[in-house]
């Protein structure tokens, strides 16, 4: 079936089984391999992408459910001119990744959190990141990096205002 998808602000038409999960459309049909497969049942968060700005697990989301909506993947997290997202800078500054496999999903969940809550508390972070497993256990660094990115964004907007 022909379907139009909007991914990272690019609209394109694909011929795909409407039940095929978004994860495998991204990885197999669109060469967007930054989004990872971890469990297939929405338990680990490795496949997290944004749908109209909200985090979803792409491994259980049929491509048909994304019709007319905007999908953002890790490949689209950086700014238009390619400048890294504040979270990406913070992830490097805090040396967050170990194996790195879960980090696309972690970053997308964190990005959604900061959009909704620019100055998250520890409880906000716990809640927003609870669906993302990191088997390397880098949770403390993820938390610190989110706070650092939030602080940077807040001080930037203060300067702008």
């Amino acid at each position: 079936m022909q379907q139009t998808v909007t991914i990272n602000e690019v609209k394109q038409s694909i011929d795909v089984n409407p039940e095929k999960p978004l994860l495998w459309v991204l990885r197999e049909e669109l060469a967007l391999t930054g989004t990872k497969f971890g469990c297939g049942i929405a338990q680990c968060g490795a496949c997290t992408v944004l749908l109209d700005g909200r985090p979803i697990r792409s491994c259980i989301t049929p491509i048909a459910a994304t019709k007319g909506r905007a999908i953002t993947t890790i490949e689209g997290l950086a700014g238009a001119a390619g400048q890294p997202h504040p979270l990406q800078r913070a992830w490097i500054a805090h040396q967050v990744p170990q194996c790195g496999y879960c980090q696309s999903g972690q970053l997308m969940s964190a990005a959604a959190l900061l959009t909704q809550q620019p100055s998250p508390t520890d409880a906000d972070i716990d809640q927003a990141m609870q669906g993302n497993i990191c088997r390397c256990g880098m949770y403390s660094r993820i938390r610190e990096a989110i706070k650092a990115a939030a602080a940077e964004a807040t001080s930037d907007s203060g300067a702008d205002g």
């Binding site: 469990c39 338990q43 990744p97 790195g100 993302n132 390397c136």
Partner: protein, 755 residues
């Protein structure tokens, strides 16, 4: 050329003291001509087996270890850069190819004898060494916490220093100045007298024509500029923008996808496959029976039986095909085995008191126990554990013109090559393994079963194929951290001092010293019984230390309680002749405010663990509110000898603690009807953000031999945790995990094994 010959080995071995260690780790001679086609490209000069220099003065460290998250590739590059006086901003890393020329003798040795200090690895006769050498030729292992302390210390630093010497000599010859006047700085050669300055690249060609020393003079730690500093990891930037390429991200022209299912009961054959419904699914290409590998080889062998694979145009389609398959599995003698029956079997094996294999005996523990006024006994047990790496097992294989290429993230590319070649009946030199970043490994990726399946499927269908295991297969077809039982008896003197320590446990794997204790106890008798099961066992982060750490550090705590002594002080008194251990224990206790009173419902527990050449003490602080356990804080002190990358070491300790805490709280693989019950993260849980305690790691650079970093933090978490729970509410927990234990309902002092 480049081969280890008996003569080359003997000439290397004809040194004394530390020199022989260098000889063991490095292959002598000039090898760059043979290696250049393997690793060097346009504009690159291979100056040393492990170092190449580009025309733009970029220096590449060629490291023979995989990256599974542990950061060893950056640490190894630091060691090269340090000894080379290289400009760190122009250093890059390349993983050595899976080729015999990069087989790592020192790693092979270390893996076989891990836990011993390196000079102790020398076996009594040269013939013995040569035999072991042959065994090791196919090894290229990343494991045993060996990368930095063995490869780094005995090869990368040596390579860096030797290359620097070659460059200096080349410059001195060209400039007609005395060698000792040529100095190096930031990837440049300098001669003050003639004001000359040249980049390393200018002399790379001349340096590459000389034979490097394998006994160059290494720097003193006081002179380090790059080692000992927390350099940002080179592999991190691509891991934050989705460009880091894992095996799952490999794409080949014409590639199809496959997924697979092995018998739920390990070792069961396929009796019948009805693939009608599967083949009717649009996009399903083939259903294939994949034979079991017959090899008994530790890397490639998997006795777990044959499997059925579905090949399709998409992984998603393949999974639908797999669900539509009707497979009947054959009977096995293990169809009624359960966790319960396995633990019964272990208890019986221990009760028989026959066929005990001794690990360590000093004094006469039996007699001391018989004569003692006070004998303390306790039995502990731990379940099977799966690894659950974030990246599900996958590989891509392509066979064309008699050549097999496999893309896989693994801990032993050469061992995988051998296993794949044997399975598809190819010569090893016609198989190429392209090792990729690993999305976690933890020991699982030292076994080649899934890569062998991939090559067999590619051979059967004649197309490039990417095999991806579902998470369910990953959980149910692992090489598990073995379940085991450990029983203790100790004799206490009147003053509470422990005079005898008797320990019997089931099943030993490695490293051999895992059940041993550092404490000065006069009579010790430690031994095990072998009690085989049909459940495949394997290396799991820290291997046997993962269970023995829990056993021994729980029991010593019980003795302190029985003696009415403070658990920290009780241990400290038994470590008076072990100043390193004592310093580590003391650091952890002080940093954790051990003596500071806690509120009601709070508790602290301590543990001490020596493994992989590193000593770690941990203090865990818990709160228990109406039965709800919260791990509040963990303080770790780590004597690692010398931390090449302090932040990398801290990250590894945090990571290992999270891994150990996951196991202590949740980790449990159970068996029913011969098969694993759990299947995915909903019933084999992992620690999540809200449960991660604050971890403070204090590194002690004692100046002793470097120890490992990747695994050493794991074993001490569980015992410190149960010791803390005892401290908080007076309940002694002797089996893991804690998830099913209702702390609220337990009365003070009641043993869980009795309940």
């Amino acid at each position: 050329m480049g081969k280890w010959t008996r003569r080359a080995f003997l000439s290397a071995a004809a040194l004394t003291g530390g020199g022989i260690v260098v000889g063991l780790a490095m292959r002598p001679g000039r090898r760059v001509d043979g290696l250049t086609p393997l690793v060097a490209g346009e504009g690159e000069t291979l100056v040393h087996a492990f170092i190449k220099i580009s025309t733009d003065n970029t220096i590449t460290a060629i490291v023979p270890h995989g990256e599974m998250g542990q950061g060893a590739q950056t640490a190894l590059a630091q060691m090269v850069a340090e000894e080379m006086d290289a400009d760190w901003s122009r250093i890059v890393v390349q993983e050595a190819p899976a080729h015999g020329e990069y087989a790592f003798y020192s790693i092979g040795r270390g893996f076989q004898f891990q836990g011993l200090n390196f000079p102790d690895l020398l076996v009594p006769t040269i013939d013995g060494v040569m035999m072991r050498l042959a065994d090791s030729m196919n090894l290229q292992i990343t494991g045993g916490s060996m990368s930095v302390r063995v490869t780094g210390r005995y090869s990368m630093q040596v390579a860096g220093a030797a290359t620097r010497d070659l460059l200096r000599r080349a410059a001195a010859d060209a400039w007609h100045v005395p060698l000792q006047e040529v100095v190096t700085e930031n990837s440049h050669l300098l001669h003050a007298g003639t004001s000359r300055r040249a980049p390393y690249a200018e002399f790379a060609g001349a340096a590459a024509r000389q034979t490097p020393s394998y006994t160059p003079t290494l720097k003193q730690p006081a002179d380090y500029r790059v080692m000992g500093r927390s350099m940002p990891r080179l592999d991190i930037p691509p891991k934050v923008d989705g460009t880091a390429r894992f095996a799952l991200d490999i794409r080949r022209p014409g590639m199809v996808y496959a997924t697979v299912m092995r018998a739920p009961v390990f070792g069961a054959p396929v009796a019948r496959v009805d693939d009608t419904a599967a083949l009717a699914i649009d996009g399903v290409i083939a259903v294939i029976r994949v034979p079991a590998a017959q090899s008994k080889d530790r890397v490639g062998g998997f006795s777990a039986g044959e499997s059925v694979a579905v090949v399709a145009d998409s992984y998603w389609t393949a999974t639908r095909g797999l669900r539509a398959l009707k497979v009947e599995w054959g009977m096995t003698p293990n169809d009624s085995v359960s966790s319960h029956s396995i633990f019964d079997q272990f208890d019986q094996a221990l009760a028989a008191e026959t066929d005990v294999i001794s690990d360590h005996v000093t004094g006469d523990a039996k007699r001391a126990l018989a004569a003692a006024d006070s004998v303390i006994s306790a039995d502990y047990r731990v379940p099977y554990l799966a690894h659950t790496c974030m990246e599900p097992l996958n590989a891509t294989a392509e066979i064309t013109d008699g050549q097999c290429s496999v893309w896989v993230g693994c801990q032993n590319p050469l061992g995988f090559r051998r296993a794949i070649a044997a399975a598809i009946d190819f010569e090893e030199h016609n198989v190429t393994v392209h090792n990729q970043l690993m999305g976690g490994a933890f020991g699982r990726k030292s076994r080649a079963d899934w890569a062998v399946q991939t090559a067999l499927i590619a051979k059967a269908i004649g197309r490039p194929v990417q095999l991806i295991w579902g998470r369910e297969e990953d959980v149910r077809q692992d090489f598990y951290r073995p379940a085991s039982v450990s029983q203790f008896q100790a004799a206490l003197a009147e003053d509470g001092e422990v005079v005898a320590w008797m320990n019997r446990y089931t099943n030993k794997f490695e490293p051999p010293e895992a059940p041993l204790i550092p404490y000065a106890i006069q009579h010790q008798d430690i031994g095990h019984v072998e009690s085989a099961t049909h459940v495949p066992g394997g290396a799991w982060r820290s291997v046997d230390h993962s269970q023995h750490g829990f056993y021994t550090e729980s029991f010593i705590d019980e003795l302190a309680v029985a003696a009415n002594h403070d658990p920290y002080e009780y241990r400290a008194r038994l470590l008076e002749d072990k100043p390193r251990h004592l310093a580590v224990l003391k650091t952890a206790a002080e940093r954790a405010d051990w003596q500071k009173p806690l509120a009601v419902g709070w508790g602290r527990g301590i543990s001490l663990q020596e493994c992989f050449g590193t000593i770690v003490a941990q203090v865990v602080e818990v709160s228990i509110d109406d039965g709800a356990l919260s791990v509040e804080r963990i303080v770790a002190a780590v004597d690692i000898g010398f931390a090449v990358s302090p932040d990398g070491t801290v990250a590894q300790i945090e990571s290992a603690i999270a891994y150990g805490l996951t196991a202590a709280l949740y980790g449990e693989i159970t068996l029913e009807n011969g098969a694993v019950v759990q299947s995915n993260f909903h019933d084999y849980q992992a620690l999540r953000m809200a449960e991660m305690p604050n971890v403070e790691t204090h590194i002690i650079n004692s100046g002793h031999s470097m120890g490992g970093a990747g695994e050493v933090g794991t074993p001490g978490v569980a015992p410190a945790l149960v010791n803390a729970i005892y401290d908080a509410i007076g309940v002694r927990i002797r089996k893991l995990p804690l998830k099913d234990i209702n702390l609220r309902s337990l009365v003070e002092g009641k043993s869980l094994l009795d309940s």
